[in-house]
């Protein structure tokens, strides 16, 4: 196991895609310490920024102790192993992740799990905007794997999602699941405006209240329960909406009946 402790608080963005079990694998402490990172516009070595301790022979587990808010791209492209962070993490955590596990005991910044294909990201705190969403101009969203957030998430999350599961125990901001094509997003608490805009497939399940529903969604039926994945079903009852009709879409938006009395007017259309 490798333990990284930041030597100071970073002011400038630190690009550290090298912090990944696949990269550390088979390297000595010194080799790890001399991996390249950028701090602002200066090229540095990982050892310049972190105290690096090697606690066992294998490097498949990485522990980061302390806040690394400015450190970006941790676990980028990771395929196996585990990263544990005790503190807050910067952007692009687990970007293009394919396997393994990342656990954060703290908050994460934007674009966590972007272009993710597999593996598990668990966030004990809150997540920023664009969770599991593509970068500018791209339509490559989450294509597999699982993201679990105990707290709240920001806006524009799960855009262009194709596959996989995102589970949020807290609240979600607006434009959840924009242009979603597949996969499942489950939010236990409240969800902001325009959830499911332009979605053509997949499921968004809202157990809390849904701020509003787009006029281009149409009520389909009521359902007592909905399946999230192999192991989990959540109980409603739920209003089931289909949309987004502006894209001739066939996505499903589930909204809890109990938490959404303002949607009861749709019942008469059933």
């Amino acid at each position: 196991m490798i333990v990284l402790t930041p030597l100071r608080k970073f002011q400038f963005p630190v690009m550290a895609e090298c912090i990944s079990p696949d990269v550390f694998q088979g390297k000595s402490r010194d080799e790890i310490a001399s991996l390249t990172v950028y701090e602002g516009n200066r090229r540095k070595k990982l050892g310049n920024l972190f105290k690096i301790e090697k606690e066992s022979a294998e490097n498949l587990k990485i522990t980061i102790k302390g806040d690394v808010n400015e450190v970006r791209r941790i676990g980028s492209g990771m395929k196996s192993g585990e990263i544990m962070v005790f503190g807050n993490v910067g952007m692009h955590l687990g970007h293009k992740m394919e396997g393994g596990k990342i656990t954060v005991h703290g908050d994460v910044d934007g674009w966590a799990g972007s272009e993710m294909k597999g593996g598990l990201i668990e966030i004990q705190g809150n997540a920023g905007n664009y969770l599991a969403s593509p970068y500018r101009g791209s339509s490559v969203g989450m294509r597999g794997g699982r993201i679990v957030v105990s707290g709240n998430i920001g806006t524009d999350s799960g855009a262009s999602m194709q596959k996989g599961v995102i589970k949020i125990h807290g609240k979600a901001g607006h434009f959840l699941g924009f242009r979603m094509r597949g996969g499942v997003i489950h939010v236990e608490k409240d969800v902001g405006d325009r959830a499911g805009a332009c979605m053509t497939g997949g499921k968004i399940v809202v157990s809390g209240s849904l701020e509003s529903i787009l006029p281009t969604f149409t009520i389909d039926k009521m359902k007592p329960k909905v399946k999230i994945d192999q192991n989990e079903k959540v109980t409603g009852p739920f209003y089931v909406f289909l949309g987004d009709r502006s894209e001739n879409g066939k996505g499903k938006l589930f909204a809890s009946k109990a938490a959404n009395p303002h949607l009861s007017s749709f019942e008469k259309l059933l």
């Binding site: 674009w111 006029p215 281009t216």
Partner: protein, 484 residues
């Protein structure tokens, strides 16, 4: 006395290039063809308090210094910075912007322009879905339906309607100015009355404006060009429109989505959207589909209302859908005269239009991460160069706090709020008046800017100042490399 013709107006994105100036004794004495804003720029700029010498902060005070000193100090600031911001660019020439990119690259900084606080969302929207658009002349010659959405050209782009759209004379469509002129006058009169009423201590002034029509008026069935305005409030442009649609604040997204569904012949479950009845929307969709060439111009009312770049995404998507039924285009109403130019220059040199981060030695782009406001809000930068803009007046307070906390260089013809907080200030020549160059109109048509009078002695152009800073920075960087 000399008359200079075909001058390009360096004010707004309309970039009218038919301005005639009468110049006497090195001063612009008369402006022809321009609108009021244009006139006040060419004549009024002289009245401003003009700083003629570079300034530098010493013991907390800005004091005059030499050009060499100011250049040296700036170069030191930039060369030693770990994450500098180079911001502004929208009101200077492409020639200066080209040097700016080189400087940003040299110092590994974040290069950003004012789009970040105006039409940045439009660009993000375009990057999601593209944009069916055209040059303004195409609108003038062909458009029989013009929609202004969330913008008020009457006040912000005064000659837009007259030169490029409804009032312009085109090959296939004529001008509608005669019919509208009456309305303009009447509307102006009403506004005036309203203003007077407001000032007068009368309680509950009588309503003088009709409310939003619930269905399109008869004149939408007329021949010739039609003008529709969609906005949250009744703007001056709305007053003259054939049809004004008042959208509930922050509900543009819903409205556009509903229109899209209707264009695709889908049924809606609701009776009204954004405060407008579905029947009314259906009529609107019929008008849109029925035109030969339609265009939507949109402004900050759309880019800055809730939804931001998703609003543009949906507006463009609506335009895309409409192209299945007829010919339709869409265009952002860009504000500063050369904001389009700076997006253009940045893009050809770096691949990206704004928010370009050179810290890794190559261009990187991720608005939200690499955009100046976000960098400042996260307090990451350690220096800044601001050119031809005034972020202290426009940025969120927290961003400003971080901006002024670190070394700050300002290049601007004016002394503005930002330069007052700066550590180095360069007065520069007015682009398009005292120095020539190139600017890009809102539809990407490049136009030459003219030098019509000389700048005050010793005052250099943005391009020259940047070149000197770049040269000096290179020297310092070279020394740093040698030392390492």
């Amino acid at each position: 006395m000399t008359i200079v013709k075909s001058v390009t107006c360096p004010v707004c994105g309309c970039l009218c290039d038919d301005i005639e100036l009468v110049v006497e004794d090195g001063k612009v004495e008369e402006v022809k063809n321009g609108c009021a804003i244009c006139e006040s720029k060419f004549i009024g700029y002289r009245g401003e308090h003009r700083v003629l010498k570079p300034k530098i902060r010493q013991n907390g005070k800005l004091v005059d210094t030499t050009l060499q000193e100011a250049v040296k100090k700036s170069a030191e600031i930039l060369a030693n910075a770990n994450y500098p911001i180079l911001y502004g660019w929208s009101s200077t020439s492409c020639e200066a912007q080209r040097v700016g990119v080189e400087l940003a690259e040299e110092v590994g900084g974040v290069l950003d322009n004012t789009a970040v606080v105006c039409h940045g969302p439009s660009i993000l929207g375009i990057q999601e879905v593209g944009i069916p658009s055209c040059t303004l002349g195409q609108v003038r010659h062909r458009a029989d339906l013009v929609i202004y959405w969330g913008c008020d050209p009457w006040s912000a782009h005064p000659r837009h309607v007259e030169r490029y759209t409804t009032f312009a004379e085109g090959r296939f469509e004529g001008s509608e100015w005669k019919g509208y002129l009456q309305k303009f006058k009447a509307a102006a009169g009403r506004k005036k009355i309203k203003r007077v009423m407001k000032q007068a201590p009368v309680k509950n002034p009588p309503s003088i404006e009709p409310v939003t029509p619930s269905e399109p008026p008869q004149k939408m069935k007329k021949d010739g060009r039609k003008l529709i305005v969609v906005d949250v409030r009744r703007t001056m442009t709305a007053e003259v429109a054939d049809y004004f649609i008042q959208v509930e604040p922050n509900k543009d997204y819903e409205l556009m989505e509903a229109l899209r569904a209707l264009v695709r012949d889908q049924e809606l479950d609701v009776n009204s959207v954004a405060g407008i009845s579905v029947e009314c929307l259906e009529e609107l969709v019929d008008i849109m589909i029925g035109c030969n060439f339609g265009i939507i111009f949109f402004g900050l009312g759309l880019t800055m209302s809730a939804g931001k770049f998703r609003n543009i995404d949906v507006a463009i998507s609506l335009t895309r859908d409409l192209n299945m039924r007829t010919k339709f285009a869409i265009m952002p109403m860009r504000g500063h005269f050369n904001v389009t130019g700076s997006n253009t220059v940045f893009t050809w040199q770096t691949g990206y239009p704004f928010g370009v981060d050179f810290s890794l030695g190559y261009p990187r782009y991720n608005p939200g991460e690499t955009t100046s406001v976000d960098v400042l809000l996260r307090r990451e930068s350690d220096a800044a160069l601001v050119i031809a803009s005034d972020p202290v007046a426009n940025f969120p307070k927290k961003a400003v706090q971080h901006l002024v906390k670190n070394p700050l260089i300002v290049i601007d013809p004016h002394m503005n709020a930002t330069s007052l907080m700066a550590d180095v200030v360069f007065p520069s020549a007015f682009v398009g008046i005292e120095v020539g160059g190139t600017a890009y109109r809102m539809d990407h048509v490049p136009l030459p800017l003219k030098k019509v009078v000389d700048p005050p002695e010793g005052v250099l152009s943005d391009k020259e100042i940047l070149n000197r800073i770049l040269e000096e920075t290179r020297k310092i960087k070279l020394k740093q490399v040698e030392a390492a």
